[in-house]
């Protein structure tokens, strides 16, 4: 293999320092991968005979063959007067071992530059794999020859190292049992959709997300040596691709249901596109934005009529469990609220540019409380006015005492398991409404009203409104709408946006002429 290291090193032919190293590694591996050279003096036993290793080996082998044919072709055309003296060196450890080495070393003058000459020597079987070599280069012609061979080899190998899924240079390649090699990320994404090899359709039998699956080390080394620049470029491009959609659309968005700051959200992720989103999130800051599905198509400010509500909650993934079937269970918690400024689609899932939404500063909140509570008394029928006159603490107490009363009546939405999940009612008035909304069995559209609020008082007044309505209905506590239970289930099984893709039943063909039409 290290002919490739040599090739790579040869790129810096101008740098004198590189020469010694290149010479050192130039021929070590030239013969080893080559069937035709199996007879040369080195040991060529295939060290590893597992199918994967063989497959991985095979993969590199075809590349080596290609390189060989390039070199051989060059060898044929080399003028006889361009020669290099190749001299085998005695290695220090061979000296220490005390073996007679004198007759092993050989020195020959061969046509070509270092690459071709070394190749020829190895091909004749006159070179130990482990040997070190010294060169006596006769001039610039040889250097030029090396450079041009390197160039041709790189050209020839390009198509061999292209991934069949992304059409890019194989990035961190993984080889399947059936002997097919793809970028790790490409194979992982393929696994999200199918358990079969994309190339030959054989069952893959690989762990989901390829956890613990080794890379094709041979190929990785080879690429790193052969074209380090291209590998680096590919890495950078992949990172950019991971980062998100176009421009500033760098926040992954999960259009699903409601979440609130500081409150836990449990999700099961099984749609392929969201598996990809989840992996990327886990690899970056473990966050993604959760938005509620806009089932009634209500207009969302500047965004117009989009399929989600514009205010959402950033979730932070605390725990993640990948199941054998490739689906994932995640435990997340609301970090902060945000508003979607712009959005798009990236690899099938929504991405957006979001603006964090925080409450007004405490001083502003206090000023608001002072001004609202200091107004003239309001008549009993003015419910809104009544709430304005209440201090923030009194509004909080109203909510907390409601919870106490409901507990006294053993409301089933306040069962122990609900409290185990959401915790006890917070004493912080800023957070209490979020907790309250998380446990209360009312519609998500109603609860959503908390998300755009900028003041603690606004939120407390919203929940005070809910309480008043609930209390005005007589047996509100015992009769829960069935959908409310979904909110309280520890693990809501949520499948994306509730869209169904049923093509066969549709009378008209659904065809999206422009991908931007949706956005």
């Amino acid at each position: 293999m290290s002919v490739l290291y040599a090739l790579a090193a040869e790129r810096q032919l101008e740098a004198a320092a590189a020469e010694a190293k290149a010479a050192q590694t130039a021929h070590q591996v030239l013969p080893t991968e080559d069937e035709a050279l199996m007879s040369s003096r080195g040991e060529h036993a295939v060290e590893n005979s597992t199918p994967v290793a063989l497959a991985a080996h095979e993969d590199a082998r075809s590349l080596i063959r290609l390189i060989q044919s390039e070199i051989v072709a060059k060898q044929m055309s080399v003028a006889v007067d361009t020669t290099t003296l190749v001299q085998e060196q005695v290695r220090w450890d061979e000296c220490v071992s005390g073996e007679p080495v004198a007759d092993k070393a050989c020195s020959q003058t061969l046509p070509g530059g270092r690459l071709v000459a070394t190749y020829a020597l190895a091909a004749k079987g006159d070179l130990y794999r482990e040997s070190e070599v010294r060169y006596e280069v006769s001039g610039d012609a040889q250097k030029a020859l090396d450079v041009s061979i390197l160039h041709e080899v790189l050209e020839a190998t390009q198509s061999q190292v292209e991934c069949q899924v992304c059409y890019g240079l194989m990035l961190d390649p993984v080889t399947t049992f059936c002997g097919h090699t793809l970028c790790r990320k490409c194979l992982t994404r393929t696994l999200d959709h199918s358990l079969h090899c994309p190339v030959c359709r054989r069952g893959l039998g690989l762990p989901p997300s390829l956890i613990g699956q080794p890379s094709n080390k041979t190929l990785v080394d080879l690429l790193n040596a052969l074209c380090p620049d291209a590998v680096a470029l590919r890495f950078a491009a992949a990172r950019e691709e991971e980062a998100g959609g176009p421009g500033e659309l760098n926040t992954p968005l999960f259009v699903c249901s409601l979440g609130f700051p500081n409150m836990p959200v449990f999700l099961r992720i099984f749609e392929p596109r969201y598996r990809l989103m989840l992996r990327r999130s886990l690899e970056s800051n473990r966050e993604f934005g959760m938005l509620m599905y806009n089932r009634y198509g209500e207009p969302q400010g500047d965004l117009g009529s989009v399929h989600f509500y514009q205010y959402g909650t950033m979730l932070h993934i605390d725990n993640h469990q990948l199941l054998a079937d490739g689906t994932s269970l995640i435990e997340s918690r609301g970090a902060y609220r945000f508003r979607v400024r712009a959005h798009g689609i990236h690899d099938g899932y929504a991405v957006g540019n979001v603006e964090r939404l925080d409450d007004v500063p405490t001083t502003e909140e206090e000023r608001l409380e002072a001004s609202e509570t200091s107004g003239p008394p309001v008549p009993d029928w003015d419910v809104v006015g009544q709430l304005d006159r209440m201090s923030t603490q009194a509004l909080l107490d109203l909510g907390r005492s409601f919870i106490e009363r409901m507990r006294g009546r053993s409301a089933n939405w306040l069962q122990q398991r609900v409290l185990d999940i959401h915790g006890q009612p917070p004493t912080d008035p800023a957070l209490f409404p979020f907790w309250f909304a998380s446990v209360l069995p009312i519609s998500d559209e109603e609860k959503y009203k908390l998300l755009p609020t900028r003041t603690v008082r606004a939120r407390l007044k919203i929940i005070a409104g809910w309480i008043r309505r609930i209390e005005s209905q007589r047996c509100a506590t015992s009769q829960l709408p069935p959908r409310a239970r979904v909110t309280m289930r520890p693990e809501a099984e949520i499948e994306g946006e509730g869209e169904t893709e049923d093509e066969t039943d549709a009378e008209e063909v659904e065809f999206t002429p422009t991908s931007s039409a949706r956005t």
Partner: protein
């Protein structure tokens, strides 16, 4: 706002232009390069010979993880193609693999024209005719090709 075009789509498009498949063309729209105007020539020796069929092809956001969406625009009498131009082809559904490409899909469609399969019909009426009176079905297919797929 749409995401930047994956390298794969760019390369596929380039290769479709630089190494075209005989009898098939696929040209991306200028304003939306995920949307292609496709022309497929009826295979020689088939009842679609001489016809040039228009199709539309769209690469969804998660292409190549999901297959391209494709349908005939030109009317065609074929047991595996319905009146809306939808195509019953395994590689466009469950047998899709990201290692397939626009080129291979279009070749499969061309092959489907050469080998209608009434046993796995999308268009029941056509399939029935194909099974009960193949000569008549082929005649109709030829007539339709003449009528709809031969412009000028």
């Amino acid at each position: 706002m749409s995401a930047p075009l994956p390298k794969r789509i760019i390369k596929e498009t380039e290769r479709l232009q630089s190494e075209p498949v005989p009898g098939i063309s696929a040209i991306p729209h200028e304003e939306n390069v995920r949307y292609f105007d496709v022309k497929v020539e009826g295979p020689g020796g088939s009842c679609y010979e001489g016809g040039v069929f228009d199709l539309e092809l769209f690469l969804p956001d998660d292409y190549p993880m999901c297959p391209p969406r494709i349908r005939f625009l030109t009317r065609i009498y074929h047991p595996n193609i319905d009146r809306l131009g939808r195509i019953c082809l395994d590689v466009l559904k469950n047998n899709w693999s990201p290692a397939l490409q626009i080129r291979t899909i279009l070749l499969s469609i061309q092959a489907l024209l050469g080998a209608p399969n009434p046993e796995d019909p999308l268009n029941e009426a056509v399939a029935k005719q194909w099974k009960e009176n193949q000569a008549e079905a082929i005649k109709t297919a030829r007539e339709w090709t003449q009528q709809y797929a031969m412009k000028k």
